[in-house]
């Protein structure tokens, strides 16, 4: 085999591997876009590993890091001068004696600085611990996920209104997302009306049933999924189930994400359970221990109008409601997105 043959073979092999690499990249991109590879899964892996890093704070790692820093924050003035050869030891000892006054002066200042810095860190640790203790009181006790994932309000009574609003706003700007779509009954109805929609649901059983029914449903949680969607990519967003139980902080994120991800002119619908009906349905334990409680339809209407949605309607049924709005093509007024005072009012209202 000549050198030219070898070079040609090498070139062919590289071209083949380049092609395989491109195909792999395309597959990853395609499956991410289709939701087979939920970005939230990768993000959760990163977040989980971050908890085990030396700078992570989980599992009391901060205290461990502080102890490590304590041990390193002392500069030893007594340099080792021991040696196996006597003359060399004498030289080291002589050098040490000659420089000791200088080294003592520098090292004592370094030790003072290190001790002060560590003292500041310990004070910060104490203050943070106090804050964590106070916040822990406000944190609701964990409930098993299957208890929290109780089905949301029935969307059927609002289906005609949703379809009408979606058609009137048009869906050319992108797809419609139904977040926490359960078994996908609403999606099926939308699809039957010719509306391109897909769904997500964190419950395995529900999403499996929907997939078996031939619907485009992915297993994912709402906040993580919305984070991964491009801005203004959705023609419509229907939120249900999650809106009944998310914590106040999570609901604030949800509203901000909805505002960012729905295209101008697109539709936002919140299908929620009436607070009184929700208490009856979930029972006292879940109602008391859930991180969040349903808001009234008036409150949702108020919130979505604050973040640049117009034409806000709310429809009520016996146990549920739907708040439907269209995203204005004009940007929302500065500082309007979920202002703190209004959040407090909204919580009190529920």
């Amino acid at each position: 085999m000549t050198t030219e043959d070898t070079a040609a073979g090498e070139e062919q092999a590289r071209a083949y591997l380049d092609r395989v690499r491109r195909e792999i990249d395309d597959e990853v991109r395609r499956r991410r876009a289709a939701g087979d590879f939920p970005p939230s899964f990768e993000r959760r892996l990163d977040e989980l590993f971050a908890r085990f890093t030396p700078t992570g704070v989980a599992d009391d790692h901060f205290t461990e890091a502080l102890k490590l820093a304590d041990r390193s924050a002392y500069f030893d003035i007594d340099v080792p001068i021991g040696t196996r050869r006597a003359p060399r030891g004498f030289v080291k000892w002589s050098l040490w004696q000659a420089e000791a006054w200088f080294m003592h002066y520098v090292v004592s200042q370094l030790n003072h600085f290190a001790a002060s810095a560590m003292r500041v860190l310990h004070l910060l640790d104490e203050r943070l611990s106090e804050v964590e203790r106070d916040v822990a009181v406000l944190t609701p006790p964990a409930l098993p996920e299957e208890e929290l994932l109780t089905p949301g309000a029935d969307a059927a009574p609002f289906l005609d209104a949703l379809r009408t609003r979606l058609r009137s706003h048009g869906t050319s700007a992108g797809r419609v997302l139904h977040a926490e779509c359960g078994d996908g009954s609403l999606l099926a109805s939308l699809a039957a009306s010719g509306i391109d929609a897909y769904g997500i649901d964190p419950g395995t059983a529900a999403s499996d049933r929907a997939v078996q029914a031939g619907l485009d449903v992915r297993r994912d949680e709402v906040l993580g999924h919305l984070e991964s969607v491009a801005d203004e990519a959705l023609a419509g967003l229907v939120l249900s189930a999650c809106v009944d139980r998310l914590s106040l902080a999570e609901r604030r994120r949800l509203v901000r994400l909805a505002e960012a991800k729905v295209a101008p002119g697109g539709m936002l619908a919140v299908i929620g359970t009436m607070p009184e009906a929700w208490e009856r349905r979930v029972g006292p334990v879940v109602a008391d221990l859930s991180p969040g409680r349903p808001l009234h339809p008036e409150t949702w209407a108020h919130l979505v109008s604050q973040i640049g949605f117009a034409d806000v309607d709310h429809l009520t049924d016996r146990d549920g409601f739907a708040v439907v709005a269209a995203k204005s093509s004009d940007p929302p007024p500065a500082g309007a997105a979920f202002p703190e005072s209004r959040t407090a009012e909204a919580s009190a209202g529920s």
Binding site: A13, L17, V20, L45, L48, F49, F52, P54, D59
Partner: protein, 368 residues
């Protein structure tokens, strides 16, 4: 002018790590080329104590007709000691892992890396010739100083490794494999710069989306305690404690058994000066998927699937493609065998002999 003696010096001499193996082979070559040659170090291990001399025994006065070959891969007071001596010096640069890749996991390695970079500058100034494991390493040398350099791969013998496989371990591994599941393998120090945590993440994706019985074997000794402990806790939290196996240090025969029973070699390492395990895996017919870092593309050539993206999904999908697509796998295995053949001990010795000859022509007293 050809010296009578070329002595090698390395801060810490271990007979089984890549640099230690290279130094042993190089001493054999130097002696075959009729040089006197010894290995000097500051510290060593009991199993190779008889192979080297301690620097504490080094005469203070310069030795006549002797050249040094210093192996640089990290910072050490030994570099300053050798740099200050009067004998002519050559440098064999194995690269220094950037300190930031150790982060706060291994604080002493960060300081050592910084010292190593400073000493690299000093030693390139004090040496008349430098060898580099890879074009990547050579580029670093050239960026630092204009000097005669030569890229020449380290000496190791994959064929000898393949000749001594721990058959008991192979049998045990085959029993484990009987229940199905793909076996991933990575060989290298367990340290954040090798990014084994990215392999655990990729395995989590692979098990969820492609093969729920897949396993990951991380072969190699640990650098510090925090990182391997974090890896174990991370794997346990993901429910992968039975699927992620950190072997710790292994013998050559055990290492060969892991190569012999792996389905794919996967590297997510952030930095490599050469990466001997890639070539060893190729020699064992194990397809290689590796993240493009440092010298990995130089070493892999067209014998491995080198990726620009090491996100967990990208790595998992690449491994799935290599394992599941027989055409891709066979082509990688064939190309890998060809590539590893280029690093056979015989060929590498010939390249080193030529490189040494070039260095001698450049050295003190030469006509150039």
């Amino acid at each position: 002018m050809r010296p009578a003696r070329i002595d090698q010096v390395v801060p810490s001499f271990g007979g089984r790590d890549a640099i230690g193996v290279h130094i042993m082979h190089l001493r054999g070559l130097l002696r075959d080329l009729c040089f006197e040659s010894d290995i000097w170090c500051e510290g060593t291990f009991p199993d190779v104590r008889g192979e080297c001399r301690l620097l504490s025994e080094l005469p203070a006065r310069p030795r006549a007709d002797t050249w040094w070959l210093y192996h640089l891969s990290s910072g050490s007071p030994v570099a300053d000691l050798i740099g200050a001596r009067a004998e002519p010096k050559m440098l064999d640069y194995h690269n220094i892992t950037p300190g930031e890749l150790f982060g706060s996991w291994v604080p002493w390695a960060v300081a050592e890396a910084a010292a190593g970079r400073r000493q690299l500058d000093d030693l390139t100034g004090a040496s008349f010739f430098a060898f580099a494991d890879s074009a990547f390493n050579e580029a670093e040398l050239r960026a630092m100083r204009t000097m005669p350099t030569r890229v020449v791969a380290p000496l190791f013998d994959p064929a000898a490794l393949a000749a001594a496989v721990d058959q008991d371990l192979v049998a045990t591994r085959r029993e484990q494999r009987a229940g199905g599941g793909v076996d991933w393998l990575f060989v290298g120090r367990v340290t954040p710069s090798k990014a084994q945590h990215d392999l655990v993440k990729a395995l989590a994706c692979y098990r969820r989306f492609f093969d729920p019985r897949a396993r990951l074997h991380l072969v190699g000794s640990a650098m510090g305690e925090d990182y391997p402990r974090a890896l174990r806790r991370f794997a346990a939290r993901l429910g992968l404690d039975a699927a992620v196996h950190l072997t710790g240090p292994v013998s050559d025969a055990e290492l060969a058994a892991y190569y012999a029973t792996a389905d794919v070699f996967v590297s997510a390492s952030e930095h490599e000066g050469f990466c001997v395990p890639i070539v060893e895996a190729m020699h064992f017919g194990v397809p290689v998927v590796a993240y493009r870092a440092g010298a990995v593309p130089d070493t892999a050539g067209s014998g491995a699937l080198v990726l620009d993206d090491k996100s967990p999904m990208a790595l998992a999908t690449a491994v799935h493609r290599v394992v599941d697509d027989a055409v891709v796998r066979d082509r990688l295995v064939d190309a890998g065998a060809q590539r590893s053949g280029e690093f056979s001990l015989e060929r590498s010795r010939a390249r080193w002999a030529a490189a040494l000859d070039e260095a001698i022509q450049t050295g003190p007293g030469s006509a150039r």
